[in-house]
Symmetry: D2
Subunit: 236 residues, 4 copies
């Protein structure tokens, strides 16, 4: 866990994947930056690697993350994502082990250690409460645990999620209670955001829910405002 960064719940994460890039990504980043400031909610924003420098430079409040990082050391490893290069480019962390980019257990361990050393926060994905617990031993900053069959779907939060989240929290917090628990599965609306936080998640987010909306910025603002509201409601 990299402690040189003040990541505090509630967090909202927007992973762009390969949906948007360049100018369009920068525009969305600036909107996210304003929304983060307005609602005092920390937003993790994951653009394509090449878009990191400009977004980091032109925003003030966003936590700009890479979508992936390798554990390679300075030297060879053509085509790899070098931790030191991410850091100097302005990234403050990286996502790891997403369902679309699984890592071996050993690589999860090595990459979190590299991130800690270089000074980058880590959000590590897990498919189940057991995987979340397993990952907790390597002390990432955030564990993004969600049932894989809900990712990118339009299914809403239900009983499956209830058990999933409470079990994840119980298992992870016992190992390291500083790890932030994030769950973004099937988040399509502001109400979904409220549901998942009421179930105990400390962070949430959305990719396709925002990027496929008619008005992405409006949808993003609704979600972040809902996150703020439900957080105040449940944590004060």
């Amino acid at each position: 866990m990299y402690t040189g960064i003040s990541l505090k719940p509630p967090l909202f994460e927007i992973g762009l994947k390969g949906y948007i890039y360049g100018k369009e990504a920068l525009k969305l980043a600036k909107a996210a930056d304003r929304i983060s400031k307005k609602y005092k909610v920390s937003i993790i924003f994951d653009p394509q690697y090449v878009d990191i420098p400009k977004i980091a430079e032109e925003t003030d409040n966003l936590y700009v993350f890479a979508q992936h990082m390798d554990s390679v050391e300075i030297g060879t490893g053509i085509g790899s994502i070098l931790p030191e290069a991410l850091k100097e480019a302005g990234a403050v962390g990286t996502l790891l082990n997403h369902a679309e980019r699984r890592l071996t257990l050993s690589e999860i361990s090595r990459t979190i250690k590299r991130a800690d050393k270089v000074g980058l926060a880590t959000v590590v994905c897990a498919d189940s409460p057991e995987e979340a617990a397993a990952i907790a031993y390597f002390n990432p900053n955030v564990i993004l645990a969600e049932p894989p069959d809900l990712i990118g779907t339009e299914k809403s939060v239900g009983n499956v999620q209830k058990d999933f989240i409470s079990k994840t929290i119980a298992m992870v917090k016992k190992i390291n209670n500083k790890i932030i628990i994030c769950n973004s599965a099937g988040i399509r609306t502001a109400d979904d955001v409220k549901d998942v936080i009421r179930l105990g998640a400390e962070a949430t987010g959305s990719t396709s829910g925002i990027l496929k909306a008619k008005e992405p910025v409006k949808k993003m603002e609704e979600m972040v405002r809902a996150l703020k509201e439900v957080w105040l409601e449940t944590h004060s």
Copy 2:
């Protein structure tokens, strides 16, 4: 083969791998930019992904390439290198299938097609004349063929290279004579550059030969000047 770019021999390629990045990479890029202009030699420069935008913006003559690219389409694929994002960031091409990042045959085919469509040139690596011929069917702009046991070594160009290069040229040119033949194996000095061009290569380059030199810029200039001299000597 993307024809919207005027890549013409002699070419010189500097792949930074993960040796340098950020400000240091930008500084070397600017020096390479001046050297390219001074000697009228096209230089392909492959930095870390995050360094592409600034280097593309702050140089005039370099051909800025990515070190790798995925064939993914716009949409999902977290952590992948999206062709359209590279293009908008200022890259004009990508390296593919390097010994440190091998691709399946199908992925080589798909990725070159994606590059052609998006408008990016391709430099594709091969281990042997036969692999070079195989790759020639997919029509990359450049084939970087070199004996794998010479990569990154300090062995100099010899008889192994002579047969290797002449066989590669014969096999590739028969399939598509517009493909440029590059060979960078074991290039440590200006004399190595001259040797490999005299053996028939149309392009060469160096990573560790330059980056591990006491004065990398001086070493780079010696090599590029040698490339220019030997090219005039052999092609006029």
Copy 3:
């Protein structure tokens, strides 16, 4: 190309994948063995690795192949498929680079070389005529080229196949005319077998067409008989 084996067209290939195994696979193998003898058609039979020894021992006419093989040398490489072990177990060849198990170009090259040296025939898969030509440079015994979107489907042979097959033959035979051209895409009936051979293929086969039939042995016999008939019709 391993020449210590007398693989001659017409060939029929049955790849079991993970559909059947153990006693059920042995039973099908014995039926295939009888059918091969009855129609004098060479049958390549690819069971699970663990089923190779018994099937090789209890059949006389089948060409028992592995579904995959690694290029590893004797020594380390836990979990790998060692060529020498396959050979001693009774396999006479291996399938490589199937759409469900893609290899890098370098690994295709290395594995065919290992097979040649150890004494195993190779059937290497390709997605397109260009990939088939690329693979031809490494001289496998058979190239199994088929449009990937037809594999495992119920679409029948049509104009797509006509162009695909004739282009594949033209490109491959120019490189090495001893390589046998196989095409098994969408083969569901005896008529499909006849169609594909009339289009110029020298070998064909079926997995799901046979294994999902109500009476697999009967279906297999119909296909092999059709192969024999159409071969005599077109090659005498």
Copy 4:
């Protein structure tokens, strides 16, 4: 954890990797079978896949394991190691996640579940006490935890191992105290076997220590006898 098998400490594991196969592997298996009976020590024996059926058939006491297994279901997946096929071939378990064959965290989870369902025991490798704890959440039968830089070496057991083993035991047993702790790093002699058991391991083993010995059977017997002696000394 598959409970239909009576794997009890002390265990000795011999993974053949790709060192020996066929008749030579069978001969060693028969010797191991006699030694297992003589010293009443359970021996896990991991040959090449193709050698599993005969070794399972011709030995009475060995626990014959695969060196790897995939989580694929019955159906497609050419070249994969189907759990049901291993089981029917006589294997009683499988090794997973060896340093030479790393799995993603999700695949470790899925494969152990498949093994449990099909009825196969699992020995899962880990690089560190933390990885061992992570794996413990998926309840394999055995965790083979060892410092990666000691695997295959001639370094002997020392203080590194002492801390490593005691920490592994403490972490794993807290999660599931039925998981057997194995450590085989750097085991070259009977004395090494005694050392590692005295440090708390419940199982050990050797590959190169046995296979590269002048008299492998003699070396194996010395190690197994030492295991029995030290076990009686420390557990009665």
